[in-house]
Structures are given as C-alpha cells and as structure tokens.
Symmetry: D2
Subunit: 485 residues, 4 copies
Amino acid sequence: MKANTFVGLSLSLLATLFLPGPLAPVAPDADKDTAFRWLDANEEAMRRVSLSIWNTPELALHEYKSSRELMAYLEANGFHLEKGVAGMPTAFIANYGSGKPVIAIYGEYDALVALSQKAVGSPGPVIEGAPGHGCGHNLIGAGAAGAAVAVSKWMEAATIKGTLRYYGTPAEEAIGGKGYMLEAGVFRDVDALIGWHPQDVTTASFQYSKAVASVRFKFKGVAAHASSAPQLGRSALKGVELTDIGVNFMREHIKEDARIHSVITNGGGQPNVVPAAAESWYYIRANKHEDVADMFEWVSEIARGAAMMTRTQVEIIVDDDSYQVLPNRAIAEAMDRNLRVVGPPKFSEEEKATARRMQEPLKKNIEIPLSERIEPLPETPGQGAFSTDMGNVSWNVPSQEFEVATYPYGAPIHSWQVTACSGMSIGQKGMMVAAKTLAATAIDLFKNPSLVETAKKDFEERKKGHPFHLLTPPNRRPPVFPESQ
Amino acid sequence: MKANTFVGLSLSLLATLFLPGPLAPVAPDADKDTAFRWLDANEEAMRRVSLSIWNTPELALHEYKSSRELMAYLEANGFHLEKGVAGMPTAFIANYGSGKPVIAIYGEYDALVALSQKAVGSPGPVIEGAPGHGCGHNLIGAGAAGAAVAVSKWMEAATIKGTLRYYGTPAEEAIGGKGYMLEAGVFRDVDALIGWHPQDVTTASFQYSKAVASVRFKFKGVAAHASSAPQLGRSALKGVELTDIGVNFMREHIKEDARIHSVITNGGGQPNVVPAAAESWYYIRANKHEDVADMFEWVSEIARGAAMMTRTQVEIIVDDDSYQVLPNRAIAEAMDRNLRVVGPPKFSEEEKATARRMQEPLKKNIEIPLSERIEPLPETPGQGAFSTDMGNVSWNVPSQEFEVATYPYGAPIHSWQVTACSGMSIGQKGMMVAAKTLAATAIDLFKNPSLVETAKKDFEERKKGHPFHLLTPPNRRPPVFPESQ
Amino acid sequence: MKANTFVGLSLSLLATLFLPGPLAPVAPDADKDTAFRWLDANEEAMRRVSLSIWNTPELALHEYKSSRELMAYLEANGFHLEKGVAGMPTAFIANYGSGKPVIAIYGEYDALVALSQKAVGSPGPVIEGAPGHGCGHNLIGAGAAGAAVAVSKWMEAATIKGTLRYYGTPAEEAIGGKGYMLEAGVFRDVDALIGWHPQDVTTASFQYSKAVASVRFKFKGVAAHASSAPQLGRSALKGVELTDIGVNFMREHIKEDARIHSVITNGGGQPNVVPAAAESWYYIRANKHEDVADMFEWVSEIARGAAMMTRTQVEIIVDDDSYQVLPNRAIAEAMDRNLRVVGPPKFSEEEKATARRMQEPLKKNIEIPLSERIEPLPETPGQGAFSTDMGNVSWNVPSQEFEVATYPYGAPIHSWQVTACSGMSIGQKGMMVAAKTLAATAIDLFKNPSLVETAKKDFEERKKGHPFHLLTPPNRRPPVFPESQ
Amino acid sequence: MKANTFVGLSLSLLATLFLPGPLAPVAPDADKDTAFRWLDANEEAMRRVSLSIWNTPELALHEYKSSRELMAYLEANGFHLEKGVAGMPTAFIANYGSGKPVIAIYGEYDALVALSQKAVGSPGPVIEGAPGHGCGHNLIGAGAAGAAVAVSKWMEAATIKGTLRYYGTPAEEAIGGKGYMLEAGVFRDVDALIGWHPQDVTTASFQYSKAVASVRFKFKGVAAHASSAPQLGRSALKGVELTDIGVNFMREHIKEDARIHSVITNGGGQPNVVPAAAESWYYIRANKHEDVADMFEWVSEIARGAAMMTRTQVEIIVDDDSYQVLPNRAIAEAMDRNLRVVGPPKFSEEEKATARRMQEPLKKNIEIPLSERIEPLPETPGQGAFSTDMGNVSWNVPSQEFEVATYPYGAPIHSWQVTACSGMSIGQKGMMVAAKTLAATAIDLFKNPSLVETAKKDFEERKKGHPFHLLTPPNRRPPVFPESQ
C-alpha cells in the first residue's frame, strides 16, 4: 500500500528544503561489528528464507507458508514464539530475552494480486494472474528476521538485558494486520519499534504519510419491475450514485491535501429490476487524521442525504481507519547515522545493465539505473501521499522506518520490476544493508536509554493535542481464511 | 396558466373515447330569450369594457384600472359592490338580489408579461416588452359581467328570488387570486359557480385539470472567497443543484401523469464568492392532489437531503397549492345544451382570412381557420395537463366552465395570436356566445332546484374519500402592490 | 421476461374499455375433435416431458437436456429434426409434412436464475440458489410439442397438405433466442406462427408489448494512483455515472410510456486506483420501436457527452433490440373462439386450497384462488409493459399467442408460486387447455386459407409506415456455452 | 479583485521560509530626499484628491469624476494627458519628459458595489447599497499621482532625461482595464512599471498571484410547456447544471492549486416553461496560466458534452483572461530597500484604538491593531491565491508592486473597515509611505540603468518557456457606459 512518492520529493523539494550539512565522522563500534559479522556469515540462510517466501507468494491473511518459514527461522535461532495472535492465524510474535527495555522489529510477508513475475529483467509471470511480491515484503520479513537474530547473538555475547521482539505482521496490503494487533494490545509494552521498506532510494524515511479511512456504504432499496411498476421501486443504486455526486460536489470545499476516491462494488443485477441493493467503497484520506474524521462525518451525511433523497436506507461500515504515520526524529537520526556506517548497496555492472533494461518500458529517460547513495536526512518531516498500517501503531509506540534501494530508480512500487528484483541479487543486496541498519539501530536503542527517552519525548510531542480515536467499531475481528491444501 | 391541451385531446383521444350520441331536441325558452335579447341589445357596452381592459393590460395584483372598469359596469347596472376582498385591492364581489340560491359567475382580468400585441393579423407589440392579454382574460371579465347583468334583468323581470353574484378574481396567471378568496371564506354560501375561458374550440369543458403546488427552496450557506478559502465556504447553490439532481433521479419512480419542473431564481452573485444564498422554484403536478402531496413530501426530503449533503440550510415555502379542477356533470350537461341553443360563433370570410394569416407562422398545415362547431360532450371526464386557480374552488363549490373559440384553431394559448384576437371582432364574437351560454346556464340553475341538487350530488361523489387539505400555510396573505401613477 | 401486467389491466382498464358482446355459438368440429382426443389419450407422455424439463431446469443457452427431451419426443412422433440452428446448440426445428402453407408453433424451455422451488404449496427450494421454472417454460415447450404432434396426427388422418413446424426457441429469458433465429432466416417461409404462455388468467392475449433495446456502455479511462497522482487519472466510472445522470436529466423530456433503466456492471476495482474500466447496462423501452430508436440515439449522445466530459472513451454495444409485439386480430379471434370451445381449466377444491395458501404471502386479499374463466377479447389491442423475443418475429411473420391460467390469481410471474405450479397438476391442467387451443388454431389455419390471408392483411396493416430496422449490429453471433458434464 | 491572502502567509509560512538576514545600512540619498521633501510639503493636495475620489465612489468604467480629478492634478503639475485610451473613456495616460528610459507608475480608482461606509470606526453606510472604496483604490490613484509629480519635480531639478508616465487604469475590480490597455499597445515602450496596494501589512510583495480566466457558458434550448409537452422542450438550464456536475466530477483530477468556481446567472424564467436560455459564469484559476488554459479546454469539453447530453447548444465566451503576476526580483529588492528608508507608517494611540474597535467584529483576537513593521523580503517568491489585471501587464513589462498597511491588521479586503480607513488618517498615512516608496523606486530606476537591465533579465528568465497566449478573442472591446448626470 506504499507508493514511492518519496522519489518525487527527493528530486524537487528536497533539493531546496533540506540542508545536508557536514556529517559528523562515525566512530567504529565493536557491538555493531559483532552483528554485522554475524549477518555477513549467515547471509545465505536469510537469502533462502526470503526466496522461499518469494517463491510461494501468499495474499493477505493467507500467509501460512510464509509465516511458518519465518517462525521456523526465528525459533531455530532461539526465539520463543507466540502464534496466531490477534485472531489472525498468520500473525505471530517472537521474543528473545526478557524485561525492559522492549525493542521491537516488525516484518511483513504478504504478496499482491496478479503480480506474478519471474526473477528476470523483462516482464513475464511465473503463473499468469497469480500473486507476486510486488512490494518486496519477502525482503522485509527475512531481512528483519536476520537483523533480529543478529541482535540476539550480540545480546547473548554482550549479556544485554531486555527483550528483543520480532512482530510477524500479516496483511499489510489488504486489511492492515498491524491495526488488529494493536487493538489486541500486543504492542503495549514496546519501547521502540523499527522496520524498513524496499524502495528505489536509500533514506531514513523521515516523513508523515496520509491518514486514511476505508468505508463502505451499503444501500438498501425496494425491488420492482422497472418497466411495469417503476413507481413502486426505490433504487439502492441511485443512493450510491447520489452519494458519489454529493462527494464530488463536496470536493471544492475540502483541503488541498485531502483525497477521496471510491468504486462501486455492487451496481445492481439486471436492468429490468430496480436495484434493491447496491454498495460503494471509499477511501478518505488527508494529511491529518482529524481531517479524515471530519470528512468521514461529512461523507456520511452525504450518504444519509442520498438515502433520504432516494427513500432508501444506508448502512455505513468503517472497515479500516489508519492515522498518518508519526515519524520519530531521534530514531530517524540513528537510522541515518547507521545507514551511513553500513553504506548504501553497491551494484555490479551486470545488475545495473539489468536495471536499465527494466527501466526501458517506463519511458522516463532515467539516468541512474540503481541508487547507490543515501539521501540527506531532511530537517523537517516530509509528507508522503501513501498510507500504511504502521500509522496507528506509530501513534501508540515510538516507531520509525527507513528505506533501502532494492529495485531500479524510478520504477513504480507494485510493479513487475519490484517483484522481479525482490527475487534477484539486486533485492538481496538491499536486504542485507537493511538488516545491518536495523541491527545497528536496535543495538543503539538497547545501549542508549537516552535515545529511547528522546524518542519517547519526540513521540509525545508530535501527538500532543491530537487524541487517538479510531472510526472503526470497537472489538472488530479480522476475517479468517483457512489454509488451502 | 391554462394551456390549450384540449386541442390535442379533441383530435385524438376524444375520437375514440367519447360517444356523441343523438342529441335531444332543444325546446324554445322564453326566459333565456329575455337574457339573449338584452345581451344583443347591449353588446356595444360589453365590447367597450372588454376593449378598455385589453387596452390597459395589467399584471396580476396590479389590475386596478381593469377591476374598476368592471365594478363600474356592474354597479351602474344595479349590482352592490364589495371591494378589496381577501386582502387584494383588485378583488371584488358584486351582488344582485338576495337569499338562496346563490348562483355565481366569476370573471378574470389580469394580463401576461411581455405579450403586448396590436389587434392585427401579424405579430407586433403595441409597446415592446409590455404586458398583453395573451390569455383573453379581458373577454372573460367583460363577457361574464354582461352575462350577470343579463341574468339580473331577467330576474328583475321575472321576479326571481335568490342571489346572483359576480366574483372579480384577480391574479389567475400568477398567485391564484381565487385561492386567497376561497381561504377568506367568500365562496362559502355559493350553490353553483360557473365561468368560461377563451379557446380555439367551443366545448363544455368536462375534464379534470392537473393539481399543482408551487414551491420555493431557499438555501442558505456560508460565503467564503472561492479561491483563497473555498474550504470555509458552504455553497447554497450546490444545495439548489443537488435538489435538482435528486429530483431528476426521482423521476423514474413517479407516476406517468406526474410533472415536476423548476427554474433557478437565485444562482449566486460573482464566481469568486461561494454563494451563501440560492433559490429554486418548483411546480409539482399530477392528476390527483394526493399524488402532488406525496411528491411534495418526497421533493422536500430531497431538498433536506441536499442541505445535509452540502452542510447548508433549506427553507421550504409553498406559495400556492391547487387541487385538480373537479368537473361537474350536471352543470356541464346544462352548458353543453345551452351552447347548442346559442350556437357556436360564426366568422366572416375576412375573419377567417385573418385567422389563416395568423396560423402561418405555426407551420402546422391546419385546415380549419376558426372553429365553428361545438365539440361533443364526453361521457367520462377528460384529463387536461393544465392547472388553474379554479381547482381549489371546485373542491368547495360545485363548479363548471366551458370554452368558446375566440382565436385561430391550433394557436397556442399565451401567444400573440390570442392577444390580437382578444382585441378584435373574432374575440368579441366568442365573448357574446360565452355571455349567452353563461346567462342561460345561470337561468337553468335559478329555475331548476333539481339541477343544483344534482350538481351537488355529483360534487360530493367526486370528492368522496379525498380530503381537502392544502400544503400552503394557514393564514397566508397575498402580496399587495400599490397602484402606480 | 414477461411480466403479468395483464392482471392489472384485466381488473381495471379492461372493465371499461373492452366490450365483450354476445358470443357466437360454436359448432362442433370433427377435425379438432381428432386432435383433442389424441391429446387426452396422450396426456401422460406430455406430462412426463414437461416434468422432466421442470426437474432439470437449465438456464438460457444451457438447455441441452431440455431441448433433447423435446427433440426426442417430436422425432419419436414422426417429426424431422434440424438441430443447432442459428449458431445455438439448443435451438432446433422440427418439421412434419411439406409444402405450403407453413403453420408453426413455438416452444420455450429455459429456466430462471435462483428460482429453484419444490412442487408444493409453500416456499422452499429444491436446491438453494439453483435455477427454476419460474416462468413456466417447461409447460410451454411440452404443451406446444403435444399440440404439434396432435395436429400432425390429424394431418396424417385427414391427408392435409402443408408443413407443420415446431420451433424450439432457447434463451427467451436472456439474450432472446428467437431474434438470432429470425436473423438466421429460419422463419422466412412461415405463414403463421402461434404460441402460448402461462399466466394467472386465460385470454387470447390481444395486446402490444413494449419494444426494448438492451445496450451496454463500456467506458475506458486511464488508471492512476488515486492518492498520489489523481490528476493523471481519467475515471471510466465517472463516465458511467455521468451517463446515468444525463439520462436522469433526460427523463423529463421523454414520452410517458418510455422506460429507461440500468445497472452498473463494472464499477471499478479498489478505491486507490482511478478506475480505467467501467460498464453500465441499459434497457431502453417504449410502446413503439421508433421511440426506442430515438431514445437510443439520445442516450448514446449522453454517453458520448459523458466520455467527452471525463476525457474517457465509450464503446456502445447493442446486445439486443426487440420490437413491440404486433398482435394479430384474425388469429387472436380464432384463439378466442378455440379457447371457448376448449373451455378454461377447471381446478379441484384441493388445488384451490393450495392456491389460496400460495396467495397468502402476497397479502393482497385476493378472492379468486385460480382463474376458471376466459377473459373477453378486447376490441382494440391492449398495451403491456413487458417485452419478449417474439417482438421481432411478429414484425416478420403473422403471429399471435394466448395465455392460460396455470398458477394462482394475482401471483407475480417469476415467483416461487409459478415455479411450484409449473411442476404440479395446476400447471398441467393449464398446459392441456393450451395444447388443445394451439392444436385447434393450427387446424383452423390449415383448413382456412382465408384466415391466413386475413391474418396477413392485419399484419401488413399494422406494420405500414414503420420500417423494420434493428439497432443490433448485422451478423451478430450468439454466445455458445458448452454443455457441462 | 485582490484578496489579502498575504496575511495568512505572513503569519505562518513566512516565519519558516523567509530568512530576513542582516540588512545593509542605507546611505542618505539627496535625490530621494528632494522627492520626499516635495511630498511632505504637498501632502495636503494629495489628501484632497484621495478624499475627493473616496467621497464620490464610482464603479468600474463609470469613474468619470475620479479620473478627471487625477487628470486635473497631474495636468496642473505639468504632465501631458492622453485621454480615453483603449476605448475606455475613464482610462488615461499622463506623461512627463521624453525619450528613454520610460519608467511608469500606475494608479487605480474604481470602487466596489454596496460597500458604502462612513469614515468612522464602526459599520454604517453613507448611502445604503451605494458603492464604496473597500479596496482603497482612492489611495492608490492619489498616492501614485503624488509620487509621479514628486519624481517629475526631481527630474526637473536634476535635469534627468527620460519619460515618466502615469497610467490611469480603470475597472480593476470588474473587467480588468489594464488588460484592454495592454491589448491596445499602450505599455509597449515601458521599461519598468511600478505600483502599490493598500494592505494590512507593509511589504515588497514578492509573490506570484494565480492566473484566472473568466468564462460564460450560454446555453440555448427549446421552450415548451413543461406540463403539457415536456417532451418537446430541451432545457438550457439542464445544460448549465450538467456542466456544473461535470466540473465537480472533474475536480478529483485537477492539480491541488487549481480553483474552479461558478454561479448561475440565468436559471430560467417560470417553472411552467422549459427554459430555452440559461447561463453560468465561471472563474478558472491556477498558479500557472498554462494550467488555466488546459482546464479551460477541459471545462469547455464538459460544457459541449452537457449540450450534447441535453440536445441544446452552448456558446462559450471568455470575458477575461489574466496570467499570474510575474514578480520582479530586482525591483522588489529596490522597493524593500526604499520601504526601509522611508519606514513603515506610524500610527497614533487614537488611531490604534479606532483600529481595535474595527477588529472587534472580526472575532479573531488579534493582538496588533495596525502593522508598524516591514515584512522581510522572502528569498523565493510567495504564491498568492488572488488574481489581478496586473497579471497580463507583468508578462509584457517588468513590473513589481509593494503593499503598505492602511487598515487594521487581520481585516479582510473588500470590507467596511477598508472603506472607512481609506477615508481616514490611517489610510492617508499609508498612502504617504507608499508615495515616497514609489518615488524613491522610480528615482532608482531612472538613475541606475543596470537596475533596469537586471529587472529585464529577471523578467525574461521568468517568462522563458511559457508563451503568452490569451484565451480572450482578439480585438475584443470593452463595454462603454456613458456618464450619468
């Protein structure tokens, strides 16, 4: 669900807004070196896990094999598992150590509809129409797991106190697994939560996302024969359409950063029957959740107005509600430092040639095949147009993520290029940079209580004056799909 | 407000639906002859009144000169006047005699906007843009007045007991003066009310009209600069437009005979300000008032839904509400008989040549220049598409009217052709036929208590099961426009 | 596709419009008696065919078993088969005899979606969600086949010259199989075509239906991420919606008898992508095909205007176009006489009790459980609100059908009540009346060349001035669905 | 037509974006002192001119008295007049000197509808509903004229070569007089054009405005009686409404900075007639004119689509088309320096108390009654949401303006507060600061050819790649309103 709008920013606004400034020289660090060495030595196992997930791409809430793969890896490396949390069979928690602080890393592993693609430089599915890892979640899941194990090895060696935790979070692409996990209370004791995401650039992603609510409007009318007795019918479809019209009329009067978009998921049966049932599905977005909440109220009034106009009934169902991601300055700075310690991924001439072939269909005349630099850390947070299920978690736990280049510069997320690279050496290289950076940042958090403290202060500061109140009904339950054989 | 939809009917439906049947031979009648002779002898005075009104066409509620002309004529002929009734300076009642029965004739005399036209066979205004008698109300007012005087002369001569009354009813074209008069109670003691209307055919108009409500939807929003702060504005115009959209969406689900039509009377000021005020004006019609009332409720819900959608307020104002005209079989039969006694108007070759010239711009290849026949009385009532302020009166008093040819066959009502003929001999001839028929029918009503009785029974029968309940607010007051000098 | 709007007519308009008049006494007829006796003797075989079709309800173009059942019956009785005509595997023609005249009977046998119902007096499916014979086509197919065989037996016995033909016409409920057969030329040599339909009354159905065009509007836009780049998207769904709005705005300006109704068959995918594809499906109806053609042109302009408004493209696909059914006076009179010879179905007390139980959920307080009378033949044709694939055929061959009561009075067509009765003795009784009436009418047509001649004259008269020109593309081909195992 | 959106900027964005930096010390300048002394000595005459215009507020193109007042003042001070330029009786040019360079100052003097207000601290019109100087153009006209004369005195004294020109530009509030003057070629030889505008802050207004096109959509349909023959009518109003709907549907797909807003200027006559004529009036705005041109094309396609949908015709009339104002860095820097030399207006305690009273109805809790500081000059141009007829001129002549505080901080432009202050000492003080700053900047331009050169380079740089092409028809003529007596 994450669009690479950061690219646009990096090319235009960033140039003027962000002052890179001279970077402080980075001192060598024996603790991090321990983790880096372990990762280098165990790269092959991580690669195998990431490719195993890539080879069996599973859709949201269907990630049975993928989650088992990750659980097996973590358990084999001494983590204690908690399976099927928050009512989702494919969600899990893996713990190492105990007590405070609790430093957590999250992993994702769900695939996308119809993005099946071979691990080659030209388009072509493995299985036509099958799912594919077009968002690189196989790299996230495996990279984060490798990082967790590396940190646990260091903790063991350095007898570090505290809990290291890996969150196996399903369904990022669809219903937002992290939201259900948050509501189940499983993040309650976490001091800091970190993660990463594949991108076409490498950066400590210091930015807000958009908040979003996913809402369905189910209209109920009265069926009637549309030719012989239209006056007896009350059209649910007209309710749906008048809601859309009302929303389009509303657009002039909402903020520039707001976005409302929808589809009609049920538009009636046959023309000769006045439709008694119809449904639309809306996303309501804005930079701030309070604007989403206001607009949700207004759009709901529009739907109720449409029901009144058409003498039908409307049921309003909020399926999901995500706050904008709260970035965390302290952790972002730590990530930025660690990225510079680890260094950006370096690609071979062959990999670059492949990337150039992948860029060709984009017709954008892009000069750089693969990013090999680290973007400057902006002074003030950027603003993305994407939304993610990290949003709500980031309002409850100090959280931050970074991005590492794993596919050709300028390629859109959710494309065959991303799927392909997520199964190739290009993606693996990015994953290793990510694993090291995650490990180094976790080590920073374990070693420096003041970092955790500063992160918490930044977190509290950004939340101030903005209550956290979701539009979704309390005690909602995720759907469960049994594993197919 | 009366469209000549009867023409269409007379040419198509009537042919199949109405069985003319053999007409009973009509016996000579000394009473009616008295009246007819008086009318023939006094035609010139009536002509003068009708032309005087025609020459000073006055819009609804501005008919100061026209009403004075009629009052003077009636007073001079022995009628007692009651002026400025029902809060309208140009409404009046003229009485002759006293006691029961009360037989009444109504007259109209308001003109139409921008229909100024010379009394000639080709288009051309007397004063560009000025009002004109495009509905022939000058003929109605004068013809009815002449009939009333003729009947009073017969009553005097024959010492007939009872009250003969002339209702001077203003503003038929605009707000419906008769409605205000009805609500003021001035029709309460009437036993039968008769009248006539110019047309392109001659017929006892045995038909229903449509019921109609005239409604305004006043929206109130919030002004804001449309460029710098559109998000602070709430557009009243969008409320108006969404009402229109909702009504168009409703059309599929209303009865075939229903009609809803509207204009926007206030669509905002300058584009750079979000309109804080806007207004639309609706007519809601159907063959039955109960359907109008239902649709008024629905359209009101649509307007309220539109206000909800746009976060504006709406005020719903019913300016007028007219029931469909209830025809009266007994009186219609009397009128049909009397029309046949009097005979249709007969036109000269010159008049016919003029009428043919007037028909040319209509491009309809009409064979008949001027109707010189009497249409058959239909067995069951026809259904017109027009509405009139006689509607409500006809639900409270047994009422009936007929129509006499006063302008070229096929010409539309509210056209320059009608204005012209209403000031020419063509119109005068029709007026004389009308005056005699009105007089004869009044004489029938005075002489035959059983006719009044049958009329009342028919009246009660048609109303049965249909309560009379207006959508207009109680105690509404007509606007008053002072006489300009 | 046939709604029982006739019921409404029989209760209201018919009462005033149609004059029954004294019926001519009917003389005994040995030819018809031959056919009637054969039918009585062979009722059981017909019953078996009708129940076999009823027990394996097959949807439009899937009627493999049902058509084989009918073909086997006709072939076994000496008819020559032509299978898979007009590109439809389930369409067939069965011939008996040769040369002129060609008198034809049509049969139908497709079922309806989700109308599965047990042959009992209370609601309850055989298989939840499965198809069912809610329009009684199993009775039509079997009854018509029995009639054909009975007539062939008489032809054989009486050595009658000419061709007797049975048209096995699939997909009446969906795409209109008869239309494709007509376009394939298979009706070209027919002198008269007769048929029947189950109803809640028994009548020579002397009426027009509505003409109808079935049209799809496929819009193509440009996909874009609806949050990060909505300005790059062009919404196909908005094209669909603006077409709907335009059509609702058009409604005020179409004729009273016109009907336009639609559904949205593709309303986009996920809200976060601007829909690049969307589709709506319209029925455009009116009493006259020329009005349908005019409105189709207007609606197409609306769709093109919507494409222009949204900068999308629209493809307009006319799937089907049916003229209003032309009734045939001569054949309708013959049918009316024959119905009176045969007599209406007579039901047992038990059957009536069952019918009453079936009427209960209708909550209409209907007095008659099952109609046992024959409605009067109207003087002038009625006007139904339904449409059927007989429409186009009736503009190319003199055609007429009648209706026989086969289910409870007042029950709607396409209801569980109809499905149930079509598998019960109630339906069988109606089917036998129908078979006899069809046989008698065919015998009339074979025996009286003047009847065929009068039918042709009436046919030519009704078509006069109205060219037959379909909106569907030439050489269109029906879809083919292979038989599932 | 100029909204004070700068205020918002000065309070929020400016704080972060603009780096004030240390100001260079300003050396004394004998040339400017000459002009300043003349202005101080002749303040009373300027005051009289400004109050005379304020006392006879005249609407756009009606500024006969106001323009005469200014012409008389300039002529009396040695300027040569060119009257009635560009077809506008109230436009004029006043020249002093000759040859190159040509340095020009513009003045405005039209008033606003219904903003009549006394020169006091509480709301109350001089004449209810009469025009008023709610945009302070009386101060612009007189202040600019005073500055021109002061500069001419210096030129005379210092024997400076070149032409000093005063442009009397009418109708800024309505049709944009400067646009017609530009098209008449009267700005062709100007090297630099400067001006000022009253505001609630003092600043060298270094910012872009929005481009805007003013467009009318005139629909023509077919009238018909809406009850008896709606099918014959084609509603022009529906064309107008469908255009509005199409535009609202378009909103999702335009850029964030775009603004489209409209009103309905003709919504039909009476409901019973299908409207044959209707009209809407649109403003189409964006930060860049090329986006306005694109959107104009799209909105025009929407209107044509609406005409197609409703079977009406549409005429599209572009009344005005203004590019965004191009700011000029070189001149803005000179203005900023001169403002700091002159110093911001300083107000008395009494004036501040009055201003506080005027702020009360705004209910904004504003701390500053009147701004007495100079805003920092932003590094990069700001972006206003307003539009002005300086837009097109600024694409043809290097132009820049500044703003001086002349009314209470936080008061909206076009308010009674602005009208009042424009007739009070508060406004006069601002006008004097403006006159001195204009004079000083003109002197800079005359003395430093390199400043003119730099201004031209900046001008050329900003235009590069953006052709100047107006949407208005060539050779358009302004309307002329004769002077009323």
